[in-house]
C-alpha cells in the first residue's frame, strides 16, 4: 500500500514537471502605483486600468505592441460619421456564470455617464444609444452624440460589466469585489498590502498559463528595489533612478527598459492677466530651459527630449516638429520685447510623488528660469493635493505628464488644448485656460473627418501649429519605463507600451 502511495506520488510529481513547462504556479509583482478601486469605471488612472485589464475585457483589446485587437467584439466598422457597428463574441461567461450579452454593453455605456461611479464621463457622454441591429442580439450599433474619429481606439479601456450582478449589489460591494469576463478571477484585496487573482480556466481566450498572481503594493521605490533584490517579489515596476546603476550591477536582476509613452511638459496660465498670455513669453520660457541638462543631470540619462506631447506611435505625432533651441540670451531678448526686461515672478507647481524625479526636475527648471530673470517660487506637494489644484485650474506654471490611452493626439488636444467647455466636454484638463479660436476649430473639425489619411495629416498639422506657432505647452522629455525581473524566478517578461500589467500579455511561460 505504501509502495503504491509512493508510486502515485512519483507519478504525480512527474505530471507536475511536465505541466510546469507550460504553466507558472505563481507570480508576485511589486506595484509602484497601487489600484484605488476594484470598480473598472471608478478610476481612469493607468495604475487602475492595468489591474482591471486582468479581470475585465473591453470590446477591443491591445497587445504588447499596442495594436488594437478584437476583444468582446469580434469585429467592427464605422457605418457613418456617428455610427459604429460591432459583432459581439458568443459564448462568453462572466466569473459568476452569467452570459455576456448586448445588454451588458448597453448597461456599461449607460453606467459611464453616472458621475457617482464613473471617471469616464467624457466617453459616457459621447454615447447616444446602444441598440441591436435588426433584432440580432449579436450585432449592435453604438451611436455617438457627435462624430468622434478615435471612438473605437478607446474601447480597450472601457471594461464591460455584468448588468445583473452590478445592479443587484451595493456600490461599495461592486467597488471591492469585481466580476468580469477576463482571464483572472478576483480572490482578495487587502488595501495597502496586496491583491490576489487566480486564473479563469474557462477564459474565452484559453486558460492563462500563470495560475496565480499576487500584486503587492510597494509604493516606496527603495523598498521596492530591496524587495526584488531579496526575491520577495518576481517583478517590479519603476526602478529608482538614483539606484539604477546598483540594480544593473546585481547579477540576480535583469533590467528591462523601453521608451515610455508619457511625455512630460510645462503648462502655463494663459489668461490675459498673466505674462504667459504673450506667446513671446511662452517661447522665452521654452528657450530658457536646458532640456538636455535636465535629462543628463536630473534624470541620469533615463529620458529623451520631446518636441510635442504625443509619442511616436500616436496618431497625429509629427516628426517634423522641432524643439526651440536652448538659448538664454534669446529668451532674455524675447522677455524684454514682451515688456519684461527684468523678468517676472511666477509660481511653479509640481507633484512630489507622481513621476520619477518630479520634484527634482521642477527645482532644476526653477533654477534655469532664474538665470533669465524669471523668479520662480517652487510649490511642490504630494499628488493628492497637487492634482485637485490642476483640475481646478489653480496653477500658473505646472509640471505634468500625459500619454493618450487611445493613441490619438486630437483626443489629447480635446482635453488639454481646446478652450474649456464643461457642457460639451472640451478642455477638461486645460488648466492653463488656453483659448485659441483656430485650434478650437481644427480640433472640432478633426472629428468629422472619416478619411483616415486626411485625419492623420489634419492631426499632424494641428499638432505642429500648437507647438511651433502657438507654443501652448512646453514639451520637455519622454520618460523611460523600467522594470526589474528576479532572474532565479525564470520568468520571461515583455512590457506593454501603456505600462499595464496585463498578465496574459506581459508574462511568457
Amino acid at each position: 500500500m505504501r509502495k503504491l502511495g509512493l508510486l502515485l506520488l512519483v507519478f504525480g510529481l512527474s505530471l507536475g514537471v511536465a505541466a510546469g513547462a507550460q504553466t507558472i504556479e505563481k507570480v508576485v509583482i511589486g506595484l509602484s502605483a497601487p489600484p484605488r478601486t476594484m470598480d473598472p469605471h471608478g478610476s481612469d488612472a493607468d495604475s487602475n486600468l492595468s489591474i482591471m485589464s486582468n479581470i475585465f475585457d473591453g470590446l477591443a483589446r491591445r497587445d504588447v505592441d499596442g495594436k488594437l485587437l478584437p476583444g468582446l467584439a469580434v469585429s467592427w466598422e464605422r457605418v457613418d460619421a456617428v455610427t459604429w457597428r460591432f459583432r459581439l463574441r458568443k459564448g462568453v461567461k462572466f466569473h459568476n456564470g452569467n452570459d455576456f450579452t448586448w445588454e451588458d454593453v448597453a448597461f456599461t455605456f449607460q453606467r459611464l455617464k453616472d458621475p457617482e461611479v464613473s471617471e469616464f464621463l467624457a466617453t459616457g457622454n459621447l454615447v447616444k444609444s446602444v441598440e441591436p441591429v435588426d433584432g440580432d442580439p449579436w450585432t449592435i450599433d453604438i451611436v455617438t452624440t457627435r462624430p468622434v474619429a478615435w471612438f473605437v481606439q478607446n474601447l480597450h479601456q472601457i471594461f464591460i460589466m455584468d448588468k445583473e450582478s452590478t445592479e443587484a449589489r451595493s456600490r461599495g460591494e461592486v467597488a471591492s469585489y469585481p466580476i468580469g469576463t477576463g482571464p483572472y478571477k478576483f480572490v482578495e484585496w487587502i488595501r495597502g498590502d496586496h491583491l490576489t487573482l487566480v486564473a479563469n480556466e474557462d477564459y474565452w481566450g484559453g486558460p492563462p498559463p500563470v495560475k496565480k498572481v499576487i500584486f503587492k503594493e510597494i509604493v516606496d521605490s527603495f523598498t521596492r528595489l530591496a524587495a526584488i533584490e531579496t526575491g520577495t517579489v518576481d517583478i517590479i515596476q519603476d526602478i529608482p533612478l538614483e539606484l539604477f546603476d546598483r540594480a544593473k550591477a546585481n547579477p540576480n536582476l535583469s533590467i528591462i527598459t523601453r521608451p515610455a509613452r508619457r511625455g512630460m511638459f510645462l503648462g502655463m496660465k494663459q489668461t490675459p492677466d498673466y505674462p504667459m498670455h504673450d506667446v513671446r513669453v511662452r517661447k522665452a520660457i521654452y528657450m530658457a530651459i536646458n532640456v538636455q541638462e535636465l535629462i543628463d543631470k536630473v534624470m541620469f540619462g533615463h529620458a529623451s527630449p520631446a518636441a510635442q506631447i504625443a509619442d511616436p506611435p500616436t496618431v497625429g505625432y509629427n516628426p517634423e516638429i522641432k524643439r526651440f533651441p536652448y538659448d538664454p540670451e534669446e529668451a532674455k531678448r524675447l522677455l524684454a520685447e514682451a515688456g519684461y526686461p527684468n523678468g517676472f515672478s511666477v509660481t511653479l507647481k509640481a507633484p512630489t510623488d507622481r513621476y520619477p524625479r518630479d520634484e527634482e526636475t521642477a527645482e532644476a527648471i526653477a533654477k534655469q528660469l532664474a538665470k533669465v530673470g524669471i523668479k520662480v517660487t517652487l510649490d511642490a506637494k504630494p499628488k493628492a493635493m497637487y492634482f485637485p489644484e490642476v483640475t481646478h485650474h489653480d496653477v500658473e506654471l505646472y509640471y505634468l505628464g500625459w500619454f493618450d490611452g487611445a493613441y490619438s493626439a486630437m483626443r489629447t488636444f480635446t482635453k488639454l488644448v481646446h478652450s474649456y467647455d464643461k457642457e460639451r466636454g472640451y478642455g477638461l484638463f486645460n488648466a492653463g485656460d488656453i483659448s485659441d479660436k483656430l485650434l478650437d476649430y481644427l480640433i472640432e473639425q478633426s472629428d468629422t473627418i472619416v478619411d483616415p489619411e486626411l485625419y492623420v495629416e489634419w492631426s499632424q498639422m494641428t499638432n505642429r501649429i500648437a507647438f511651433e506657432w502657438k507654443v501652448v505647452y512646453i514639451p520637455l522629455f519622454y520618460l523611460e519605463d523600467s522594470y526589474a525581473v528576479y532572474k532565479p524566478s525564470g520568468i520571461k517578461f515583455t512590457p506593454r507600451p501603456d505600462t499595464w500589467m496585463t498578465i496574459v500579455d506581459v508574462i511568457q511561460p
Binding site: 538614483e242 535636465l294 543631470k297 532644476a364 526653477a366 533654477k367
Partner: protein, 288 residues
C-alpha cells in the same frame, strides 16, 4: 557662575560647539562659498560632486555637492541659520505664551487654572510632530514663521506647566503675603515678586526645549512639510541624501547628519550644566 561654568569641561565643550554653529550661521552669507538658496547661482553641471579630497572633487565644493549642485558646506551653514532661527523663534513665542498662561493659572487658580490647564492637557495629548504636520498641511503655506507658529501651538504647554508649578510653590511664601498686605496689585505682585522667583526652572525648560525644537524642525523638513524645497535645512538635506546612500554617495547625508547631531549635543550639554547650576539640590550633592 562663570567660574562654575569654566570648571565644567562638558559645559565648555557644549558651549564651544554651539558658538561655532551660531557664528557659522550668522556669518553664512560672508563665509559660505555659495548661496545655496539663490537659484540663479546654482548650476546642474555641479551636481553630485564628491568631497574635494576624493577623485572628481572640485574647488570650492569642500564637502561635495547635492543633486541640484548645491555646495554641501554652504547648505549646512544656511541650514543651521534656519534651524537656529526656528528654535529661537519657538522658544520665544511658545515661551512667552506658555509663561503667561502658567502665571495666570498658578496665581489665580480656580476657574482660570482649570480652563488653562485642561486646554494644555488637550494640546499636549497630540504629538507635537503630528500637530505641526496637521497645521502645516492645513495652512498650505511654507515659511519660517509658519513653522514657528505650528510648533509653538503645542510646545507652549511645557512652559505653562513648569511655570504653574513654580508659581504654586512661590505663592505661599511669606514675602508674597507681605507684598499683598501692603496693598500691591495682582499684576504688580505677579511681575515683581512671583515671576522673578519662578524663572530659573523656566530657563532650564527653555534650554532643553531648544534642542528638542531643532530636532523637530529637522523631522518636519525630513518629511517634506517644513520649508520650501529650494531652501533646504538640515532635515531636508538628510532626506535628499537618503536617496543616494545605497548609490554610494554618502557625503549627501553624512555631513548634514554630523552637523545636526553636533548642534543638538552642544545644546544639551549646555542645558545640562544650566539645570545643575540652577537646581540647588543637585549642586549641593555635587559638592559645589
Amino acid at each position: 557662575m562663570l567660574r562654575h561654568f569654566l570648571r565644567d569641561p562638558s559645559a565648555v565643550a557644549g558651549a564651544t560647539i554651539l558658538l561655532i554653529f551660531v557664528l557659522g550661521a550668522l556669518l553664512a552669507p560672508v563665509i559660505a562659498p555659495q548661496n545655496p538658496y539663490d537659484l540663479e547661482a546654482l548650476s546642474l553641471a555641479d551636481s553630485l560632486k564628491p568631497p574635494i579630497w576624493m577623485e572628481g572633487g572640485e574647488s570650492p565644493f569642500l564637502l561635495g555637492t547635492d543633486e541640484q549642485g548645491r555646495d554641501i558646506l554652504s547648505t549646512i551653514l544656511y541650514g543651521c541659520r534656519t534651524s537656529l532661527t526656528v528654535a529661537f523663534g519657538v522658544v520665544l513665542v511658545a515661551g512667552t505664551f506658555g509663561m503667561l498662561m502658567g502665571l495666570l493659572a498658578g496665581f489665580y487658580g480656580g476657574f482660570i487654572d482649570a480652563i488653562v490647564m485642561r486646554s494644555a492637557d488637550v494640546f499636549y495629548s497630540f504629538s507635537t510632530t503630528l500637530m505641526a504636520i496637521l497645521v502645516l498641511g492645513l495652512l498650505k503655506q511654507k515659511g519660517v514663521l509658519v513653522l514657528i507658529l505650528a510648533i509653538s501651538l503645542t510646545d507652549w504647554v511645557r512652559y505653562a506647566r513648569t511655570l504653574r508649578g513654580a508659581v504654586l510653590a512661590v505663592k505661599e511664601e511669606d514675602y508674597i503675603s507681605a507684598a499683598r498686605a501692603v496693598g500691591a496689585s495682582g499684576v504688580r505682585v505677579i511681575f515683581r515678586h512671583v515671576l522673578p522667583n519662578a524663572i530659573p526652572p523656566l530657563l532650564v525648560v527653555a534650554a532643553v526645549d531648544f534642542g528638542v525644537v531643532i530636532m523637530l524642525e529637522a523631522t518636519l523638513s525630513f518629511l517634506g512639510v517644513g520649508l520650501p524645497v529650494t531652501q533646504p535645512s538640515l532635515g531636508m538635506m538628510i532626506s535628499i541624501g537618503r536617496k543616494y546612500v545605497y548609490a554610494g554617495k554618502w557625503w549627501l547625508i553624512v555631513f548634514p547628519g554630523i552637523a545636526l547631531t553636533s548642534i543638538v549635543v552642544g545644546v544639551n550639554l549646555v542645558a545640562d550644566w544650566l539645570r545643575e547650576e540652577i537646581n540647588p539640590r543637585i549642586r549641593r550633592r555635587l559638592g559645589r
